[in-house]
Amino acid sequence: MEFPKALAHCLGSRRVRTLTAICSAVVASCVLIASVGAAPANEYQVKAAFLFNFAKFVEWPANAFSDTTTPFVIGVLGHDPFGPYLDDIVRGERINNRSLTVQRYRHAGEIKQCQVLFISRSESDHIDQIISSLKYRKILVVTDADGGNGGVIIRFVNEGNRIRFKIDVEAAKAANLVISSKLLRLG
């Protein structure tokens, strides 16, 4: 804003000042529209939000946590496609009075305590292997990769330009998780 103001001052004309004011307003609004339009463009920003929101509609058994102060862990296995989004969403939030942390794993062996696990597409080749290693662990397994049927509880699906998801109720039961009927209606 300093520049047109200075320019207007230099020219000293009222009409020019008005013109520059209009111009600057137009430029400002264009920038604003661009930023608003850009928001849903990123698929993983939406998915990160979904990932966090799933936690609100799913109940974990009490023994899924070692004690009451244990943080709620969202894990990402394989290449992290979320960038900063997941950390941004989780920051400062609490679920069932637990703080949230995001953990990233290179392979399934690193997973200790984890409530929500997102399996990246980078792991699609050996997803069945991962699933079987996580069997009977109370983990909400989410992925947008193919495969791993029977173990993946929520799978992201792209419908046109919108992101939807499918819920495998049997897998959820096997993982000893209770999914809210409200969420089930969407899946």
Partner: protein
């Protein structure tokens, strides 16, 4: 108030009807108002519950931006036909889902308003938050028409109308029957009272109806009638006896008057004839004593002549006395010819004539203007002659005699007076002055027969007036006389005759 003129039956019925009508109207209105507010409360409660359920069901749809699912959640409202519109807004206040789906977008508020409820005349609207855990994820908007409430109120209105009409009819019927309890005794009393007032018939009695106050009232009324009846007949009796007594009395008075008149006439005839008959011997005495003096003068010595003179002067004196007496008694028989009298002229004329008789006396005569009146001019003239000659006579000892004559009229009566500065009189004898032959002085002091003032009194009385005198020894005397004017005079004359 119009009611005040209406008969008691109508007044009673109107009072009962108005009272009952007002009470039942108030009761119905209270129920109406109570129902209205209760229904509002229950509408709020049910819509709030419904809203909570919908909000809870749509949390996931809002969270995962699934507007189809949200629309489906809202479509459950089909079961509630009074909900005309519903919509969900996301946390940014953007319209997210709507019900019914075919309604244009501008039928919904563009953005959610403050949470709460709002009643308009046709709709009830609410904005409720949609909360997930501690976080608000959107807003639910519900719009319900008030058909249900209006239907209910219409029903209530109809019930109220029917109840009012029925209670009015019942009240009317009951009041028509029951008002008789009060109006009948009053009407019966009124009828009796009217019979008494119109016909003066005190023998009628009011029929006794019921107990308590009305019975007491009727009884008291009847007792009063009995008493009035008794009093009335007693009054009638005494009136009758009084009338008889009166008639008897009148008869007696008439008889007495007739007797009195006869006696009076006899007395007058007697006094007239006595006076008349006295003149003949007197004339003889006078005539013969004159003959004695003229024919036999030289035969009497001086002493004899003196005695003869005394006899003559006394016979002349007695002749005057008889003349006056005759004049006095004639007065009671004389017809009075009433006509206007110029009192001023009369008084002045009389004084002129008298003056010659008192030529040696120094008299100051003050005549104030006298109001004219009506009467017999000859008789009134006699009044002035007597009063003025008296005034001159009794003021003779004064070096300067002063005679004042004045008069004035007031309330139809004219009062005149003749005042002198003479020897006066003692007020103790004021009444005696007007009697026949009543004198306060001896003949030696002041000559006279003692009939003058009696004549004045008789003349004035015959005119219906009054005479009176005021005076003090040695300080003069004032003689007043009043004459009534016009009609009164004539009336008085008639009775005097």
């Amino acid at each position: 108030m119009l009611l005040r003129k209406a008969p008691i039956r109508r007044r009673l019925m109107t009072i009962i009807l108005v009272t009952c009508g007002a009470v039942s109207l108030l009761t119905c209105l209270s129920f109406f108002a109570y129902e209205f507010f209760t229904f509002r409360q229950s509408t709020i409660a049910s819509l709030s519950t419904l809203g909570s359920v919908l909000a809870s069901n749509s949390t996931a749809a809002l969270t995962f931006a699934n507007s189809e699912d949200a629309a489906e959640v809202l479509s459950a409202l089909r079961a509630e036909p009074h909900i005309e519109a519903a919509s969900l807004y996301d946390e940014n206040g953007k319209l997210f889902a709507q019900y019914p789906a075919n309604l244009p977008k501008d039928a919904f508020p563009a953005a959610p308003e403050r949470d709460g409820y709002n009643f308009s005349t046709e709709y009830f609207t609410s904005f409720q938050p949609v909360v997930l855990g501690p976080k608000r994820v959107g807003t639910l908007y519900l719009k319900s028409n008030l058909d249900q409430m209006y239907d209910r109120l219409r029903l209530y209105g109809a019930i109220v109308a029917v109840v009012m009409a029925a209670s009015f009819a019942l009240t009317y019927a009951l009041s028509r029957i029951l008002q008789g309890q009060i109006s009948q005794p009053i009407l019966a009393l009124t009828k009796t009272a009217r019979a008494v007032a119109d016909r003066g018939d005190y023998s009628v009695r009011a029929p006794k109806i019921g107990e308590a106050e009305f019975a007491v009232l009727t009884e008291a009324f009847n007792q009063m009638l009995t008493r009035i009846h008794d009093g009335d007949s007693a009054l009638r009796e005494s009136q009758e006896s009084l009338w008889c007594l009166n008639a008897e009395l009148e008869q007696r008075v008439e008889e007495r008057t007739r007797k009195l008149k006869e006696a009076n006439k006899e007395l007058e005839a007697f006094s007239y004839s006595v006076s008349h008959d006295l003149r003949a011997p007197l004339r003889a005495i006078d005539g013969f004593s004159r003959i004695l003096l003229e024919e036999y003068r030289e035969k009497f010595d001086e002493d004899g002549k003196r005695v003869l003179d005394v006899i003559r002067s006394n016979t002349q004196n007695m002749g005057r006395l008889i003349d006056d007496l005759l004049a006095f008694s004639r007065l009671s028989r004389k017809q009075i010819d009433a006509s206007p009298v110029d009192m001023q002229g009369l008084a002045s004329d009389v004084f002129q004539q008298l003056q010659t008789g008192f030529a040696d006396q120094n008299i100051q005569f003050n005549l104030s203007p006298l109001p004219p009146t009506e009467g017999d001019p000859a008789l009134i003239r006699q009044v002035f002659v007597n009063l003025l000659s008296n005034a001159a006579k009794y003021s003779r000892p004064r070096i300067q005699s002063v005679i004042d004559v004045s008069g004035h009229c007031e309330n139809g009566d004219c009062v005149y007076y003749v005042k002198d500065n003479g020897v006066g009189f003692d007020m103790a004898y004021a009444k005696k002055l007007f009697g026949v032959f009543q004198r306060l002085h001896s003949v030696e002091e002041f000559e006279g027969t003692g009939v003058g003032l009696a004549i004045v009194q008789r003349i004035i009385h015959r005119h219906g007036g009054r005479v009176w005198a005021e005076g003090k020894v040695d300080e003069g005397a004032t003689f007043f006389f009043s004459l009534p004017k016009e009609n009164k005079q004539n009336g008085s004359f008639a009775t005097a005759q």
